[in-house]
């Protein structure tokens, strides 16, 4: 498995052709208290760099972009009742899993991502 990051502060944990996707601790910190995650629909097609879903903090709704292209196979329904899991540990609070048919060319590894913060 390998961990990738985007400039827009999402992560993709790739295992075979499935990527678990979430937002980074940095993004969660910037958003503040997450109070709602509008999960993507299972079966929907997403584009790398395209909109994946919305995460809402107390103050505002923010768009989350998909690090990979593919089809959503699973969503983390635990976030429906406990969106604060994202603030508790954003790197384990995956939002959805995507069956990959392409990676974003602009993905970074952890070292490169953290160097850019």
């Amino acid at each position: 498995m390998s961990l990738y990051f985007t400039k827009s502060h999402e992560w993709a944990d790739v295992d075979g052709d499935i990527a678990a996707v979430g937002i980074t601790d940095y993004a969660a910190g910037e958003l503040g208290d997450v109070v709602y995650v509008e999960l993507p629909e299972v079966g929907s097609a997403v584009q790398a760099g395209g909109k994946l879903c919305e995460v809402e903090s107390v103050k505002a709704a923010s768009e989350i972009f998909s690090p990979v292209s593919g089809v959503v196979t699973e969503v983390n329904t635990a976030l429906e009742d406990a969106p604060e899991l994202i603030n508790a540990d954003a790197m384990t609070a995956w939002i959805c899993k995507i069956k990959i048919d392409g990676l974003n060319a602009e993905l970074m590894d952890e070292t490169a991502y953290k160097a850019g913060l």
Partner: protein
């Protein structure tokens, strides 16, 4: 370029996340976040920098006449040392602003206005009272303001002042109170739905007052609180915010603030227009019954898909644990099943009496 309040350095010191608000750099929240700040105000106390607010003085022989003309509330009978909420209208009945009026003595008033409306209010009031014998002045640059809010506020303030000098009643105030050695006007008012105080002092004294309050408040659970919590607190308390519930194009008779609009007094700017037509809209409160959050601007529909109005404020309510919104809807739809459109989805709403939160 945004202005800084006298407490800018204090906010930075405490890790405040600074944003531009009405031309001022102010903290939206501190590291512990909006929900923690919100809950601290509900359960203990929070300290807000509200130095961006505008302050005007209105003095002399015709001061009451001037207030009664430009404001909707009636100032004919008012005790010294009391505070009164009022709206200010355009001739068409829409709001110029909402304000607090402090009566210092018979012909000596302090008027507190919204930061974003300060220049507009000054111009509007000046133009409409210039035939009267009044001294009207903008003293905003000479006043800093702190809001100490929450159930422990009284104890905190008492530890820094002679408690017999503090205002006892809600919407009353005392001048020249020594708070930790700083001379302040202390008013028992606020914008959170909790007991609390607003303290006005010289800008040069503000950092010392801030430090004294934070130090005295620590054992009581006092935290610094930002604009984010101020907004969620006032929304739970269903207090209107200019630009949301109050606007130039919304007649004030449609906002549910009739306690502050005195149609019985002789005249005020906007009276004729407000009386000439019955309110078309009403302000109501709802809880979001489906998953999701309804925010300002979300269109509101009936079950049949008819347009009913708009959400004027909405948020996740930290003290309640669910999403709430204030709506401006056509009167005939006020009791209907309503839906808010959020990113193409219609979320079901359940009516809730206002205010959403009322202190015990």
């Amino acid at each position: 370029m945004s202005e800084r309040t006298p407490l800018y350095a204090k906010h930075i010191e405490r890790g405040g996340v600074m944003v531009d608000f009405a031309g001022y750099e102010l903290p939206v929240n501190y590291p512990q976040g909006i929900i923690a700040e919100h809950n601290a105000v509900r359960n203990a106390a929070g300290l807000f920098d509200v130095s961006h607010m505008g302050e005007f003085t209105l003095k002399s022989k015709d001061a009451v006449k001037a207030l009664n003309r430009v404001l909707t509330n009636d100032f004919t009978v008012m005790d010294t040392g009391r505070v009164r909420y009022s709206l200010m209208c355009y001739p068409g009945g829409g709001a110029v602003d909402d304000v607090l009026v402090y009566k210092k003595s018979g012909g000596d008033f302090l008027i507190v206005v919204n930061a974003a409306n300060k220049d507009k209010d000054l111009e509007w009031m000046s133009a409409n009272i210039d035939d009267l014998e009044v001294e009207f002045e903008d003293i905003s640059d000479r006043v800093a303001q702190l809001a100490l809010q929450g159930p422990r506020s009284g104890e905190i303030l008492s530890s820094l002042s002679d408690s017999s000098k503090l205002p006892e009643k809600y919407y009353s105030f005392k001048e020249n109170v020594s708070v930790g050695g700083v001379n302040a006007l202390v008013s028992r008012t606020g914008y959170t739905g909790e007991d609390g105080f607003e303290l006005y002092c010289a800008p040069s004294d503000a950092p010392a007052l801030y430090d004294a309050l934070m130090a005295a408040g620590e054992p009581y659970g006092l935290v610094p609180a930002g604009l984010g919590a101020r907004d969620t607190l006032r929304t739970e308390a269903a207090m209107p915010l200019y630009g949301h519930e109050l606007r130039a194009d919304y007649p004030v008779s449609e906002v549910g603030l009739d306690f502050a609009v005195k149609y019985t007094k002789d005249d005020f700017i906007g009276k004729a227009a407000l009386l000439s037509r019955p309110p078309q809209y009403v302000r109501i409160g709802v809880r979001v019954a489906d998953r999701g959050i309804v925010r300002e601007g979300a269109p509101i529909f009936t079950a049949d898909g008819e347009e009913a109005g708009v959400a004027t404020s909405g948020t996740m309510a930290p003290a309640l644990g669910y999403a709430i919104a204030m709506l401006r809807v056509r009167r005939e739809f006020a009791d209907c099943e309503l839906y808010a459109e959020v990113r193409g989805r219609r979320l079901k709403l359940a009516p809730v009496p206002l205010p959403f939160y009322k202190r015990a």
